[in-house]
Symmetry: C2
Subunit: 147 residues, 2 copies
Amino acid sequence: MPTQNSLESPCPVARSAELIGDRWSLLIVRDAFDGVRRFGDFQRGLGVARNILSDRLRRLVEAGVLATRPASDGSAYQEYALTDKGEQLFPVVVALRQWGERHLFAEGEPHSRLLARQSGEPVAFMAPRAADGQVLAPDDTVVKKLS
Amino acid sequence: MPTQNSLESPCPVARSAELIGDRWSLLIVRDAFDGVRRFGDFQRGLGVARNILSDRLRRLVEAGVLATRPASDGSAYQEYALTDKGEQLFPVVVALRQWGERHLFAEGEPHSRLLARQSGEPVAFMAPRAADGQVLAPDDTVVKKLS
DNA sequence: TCAGTCTGGTTTCAAAATGAAACTCATTGA
DNA sequence: TCAATGAGTTTCATTTTGAAACCAGACTGA
């Protein structure tokens, strides 16, 4: 677990990074979007050590990204599901995915793809936009401190 | 440095997470978008230990996210600048920022904001969209394995 | 109903990563 | 010329990670 601080940083990126800016948390959230709910399934899917998984799940639950609830299969066990807050990480995961797709695979190297369920077409590349829909490059933006 | 593997994962999220899925790398990239270029400026700005910064910068350079070049101020030192590949992380950083803005600050708690330089208005909330511009919720998408 | 198994952890311990501080060495500024 | 600064590297103690063993409650089949 990264040293707990910077949760007081006035920079939203820093706070987000503090919370989910580590490999396992990110991958847990990715799997959650893929419908994984159970401890054992996360564990097997990720190959993460159980104690670490346990720790990360706890952190994510504390942060309100995941919530535990009785398992939907009727067993006495519980499951971990994305909260609304967690669901809203979707753009983060998609952004990571799209960047990875574009830059981390060799020409022609196979990789999984994100498709729109309806059309079956790849999801369009996501970009920040101005109010008028114009795509914003980094230089088209300014960070205003502490407003 | 997270244990180097999963760079062979067929999942783009996993590869991205491996590379930039740690607090410092993320914050270094954020600062780079903010125009920070020099070792010392990163170090002072982030409060990161020099050896760790050194390691992360090396990794990011190796990965082609940053590149070194002679400092633009004419001194004999070098600077670290985002490459094209690095610039394309913009949506990732913006997504993290927007999520943080929305979920990691108390009501009315002040935080920095990302504005469109032209209009001065906040950047619109970023979301994955279908080809027709329709916003896609997680359930509206499917991950197709290994295409 | 009772032995065996599965699930969801916790504990233990060694190995790896991190962080603080001291150290180096080139550059710069006065 | 000399002190201060910049950009690291080294050292070493602390923290985090990961693998494996362990454990207590469900569950299952005979």
